[in-house]
């Protein structure tokens, strides 16, 4: 039971990690409290759903959906999010809530509210190791998330653009002064953050029901993770995301499944009370 719950938790955590990474990037880089972040997760799921049906192939459908997510992200950054950089928190929150409501309801009108799941390409037969039981989509989700995080890590750590990204993240004015085009970095960051969230939707939609309101719970979790980790810590957010997945899974197994969404909130309260700068945060940052 324990191992089974642990593994389920890591799969859920993969999804949280993808959503939270994007959220940290947007929050840390652009200082935007992005309530619409969950809607990219949702849109990623819906586009994947439709394109998988259209092409009758999960992988092609998923990739096409990601291309659409990239285009939407670039467009929305240029048109709207770019203006929100450095705006006060009340303004950005209210505007992104507006965006969130808009997207959620547009999807509801276009796709309808009835819940569905993305058709998955694997055989129904689960993998059984001892008394642990894992379905194939879950294995696929887990490893795809690891690959995405790995590529992101390589990009940030070793490429020139990735270093420029880190430089802008840590000190924007210094980045300007060495000739980094920070507008480009912003567009790039937002696009990466949004698309990675979209990918989470396209992946988790195979094992969960997708519906227009799914982004709301997701963004709540993402916020809890980002604040718990310490706002500017990308790797911290990944760690906490997997941790939260596991805690929720264990919690719903041993305590109560109806209240699994409450654990994130309790952790958040404890962190804010005892370590307000976050677990991986720096004091005064």
């Amino acid at each position: 039971m324990f191992l089974q719950l642990l593994i389920n938790g890591l799969v859920v955590g993969s999804g949280y990690a993808l959503i939270a990474v994007g959220h940290t990037i947007i929050f840390g880089m652009m200082k935007i409290v992005n309530f619409a972040h969950g809607e990219l997760y949702m849109i990623g799921a819906f586009f994947t759903f439709s394109f998988v049906l259209l092409f009758n192939n999960y992988y092609i459908g998923f990739l096409v959906a990601m291309v659409i997510c990239i285009l939407i992200a670039i467009f929305s950054e240029k048109v709207l999010f770019h203006r929100l950089i450095d705006e006060d928190i009340m303004t950005t929150t209210l505007i992104t809530i507006g965006i969130s409501i808009f997207l959620m309801n547009i999807v509801q009108i276009l796709w309808g509210a009835n819940p569905r799941t993305i058709p998955q390409p694997f055989s129904e037969k689960p993998v059984i190791i001892g008394d642990i039981f894992i379905t194939k989509p879950r294995i696929f989700i887990f490893f795809t998330a690891i690959v995405i995080i790995g590529v992101l890590h390589w990009f940030i750590k070793y490429t020139k653009t990735g270093k420029a990204f880190r430089a802008t993240f840590q000190n924007r004015q210094a980045a300007l002064l060495v000739g980094i085009n920070i507008n480009y970095i912003y567009t790039l960051s937002y696009t990466i953050g949004a698309t990675v969230a979209g990918a989470a939707g396209g992946l988790l939609g195979m094992i969960y029901v997708i519906e227009p309101t799914m982004g709301v719970a997701a963004v709540g979790k993402a916020f809890a993770i980002v604040i718990t980790a310490g706002k500017k810590s990308i790797y911290g957010a990944i760690f906490i995301a997997y941790g939260l997945g596991v805690i929720e899974s264990l919690g719903s197994g041993y305590i109560s499944s109806q209240y699994k969404d409450v654990f994130a909130f309790i952790i958040l309260i404890l962190v804010l009370l005892f370590k307000p700068e976050g677990i991986f945060g720096k004091k005064g940052a």
Binding site: M90, T91, N105, F265
Partner: protein
């Protein structure tokens, strides 16, 4: 306030008193009653958002707590209106004190997230604790208000009750905002650190604004339960938060009458724009975005914005 504007207010109030006779339309009266309930909610929310400058997204939770306190008291103990009404306010206030005590230590995003989570968790509780709350089914059969034998069985009677409650609340808020307390609130909103440095207890004043708003929402929830005779977990939905925010922003946060105007307009408008029916929420989203971008002080600040621009021109020329 000079005599001139006093007269304006008196005429306004007289009009409101005569309104049920003038319109003679049950449905419109119903909308006005709902507008009144929203006025209470938005005015309370305005205390923390407009005067303290902290964005709270859990206001519907206090409304819901007030409504459920009333509904459950009636269902389980059949206690009379006045007691239920007061207890609704008091219990809501007590819960908000506890919540504010934990969360108002932080500002900005952390506070905002805690409030969303609180709303979400209250919703889960009401949905899942079926034995206590009746779950998704909600509580029906709540009777009309009965005060000392007088039964509120007409819309007109509810209209006057809400009108009195709104006027009384607005008057109290007006007095509060123009007192030492209100000045402290605005000091906190404009510059928290400065406020701290001149000895204002930010935590205490923020809590007071938050709890006052919650208390009002609790009372509004109680009246709502009696008026509609039915309550459900839908009272805890985030879409209500959105509606309140649209009303507050478009009406003008940080003003006394802004919430009233916002509440009335955005109660009436959607009803008269029924042809947009399913597009209502997306349109609200767009209104919120455009409102913040172009009318950060509310729709009725247009005049103010124009006059400010003129002043600037004068200065620069």
């Amino acid at each position: 306030m000079n005599i001139n504007s006093n007269i304006k207010y008196i005429i306004g109030i007289l009009l409101l008193i005569l309104l049920p006779f003038l319109i003679n339309n049950e449905y419109l009266l119903h909308l006005l009653i709902m507008g009144g309930i929203y006025t209470l909610l938005v005015s309370g929310l305005n205390l923390i958002v407009g005067y303290i400058g902290q964005l709270s997204l859990c206001h519907p939770a206090f409304f819901g707590i007030g409504a459920y306190t009333t509904g459950l008291l009636f269902k389980r103990l059949s206690t009379p209106f006045l007691l239920n009404f007061l207890l609704a306010g008091i219990i809501t206030a007590i819960i908000s004190i506890g919540f504010g005590y934990i969360t108002l230590r932080v500002r900005g995003s952390a506070f905002i997230i805690m409030t969303v989570s609180f709303l979400h968790i209250m919703h889960l509780l009401v949905l899942n604790e079926v034995d206590f709350t009746m779950g998704q089914k909600g509580i029906s059969g709540i009777p009309n208000i009965n005060i000392l034998g007088y039964n509120f069985n007409t819309k007109t009677s509810y209209y006057y009750l809400i009108l009195i409650l709104c006027l009384f609340t607005l008057f109290i808020i007006y007095r509060l905002v123009n007192s030492e307390i209100g000045r402290a609130w605005k000091a906190i909103r404009d510059n928290e650190n400065l406020a701290k440095s001149i000895g204002i207890n930010v935590f205490k004043f923020s809590n007071f604004a938050f709890v006052s708003g919650a208390f009002i929402a609790g009372l509004a929830g109680s009246i709502y339960a009696y008026y509609i005779n039915y309550i459900s977990p839908d009272l805890f939905l985030f879409s209500i938060t959105t509606t309140l925010l649209v009303m507050l922003i478009m009406g003008g946060k940080g003003t006394i009458l802004g919430p009233v105007i916002g509440a009335i307009i955005f109660t009436l408008l959607p009803e008269y724009l029924r042809f947009i029916s399913e597009w209502r929420m997306p349109v609200f989203g767009v209104i919120l975005i455009l409102g913040i971008l172009f009318f950060p002080r509310g729709l009725f600040s247009i005049k103010e914005i124009l006059s400010m621009k003129m002043k600037k021109k004068e200065v620069s020329s």
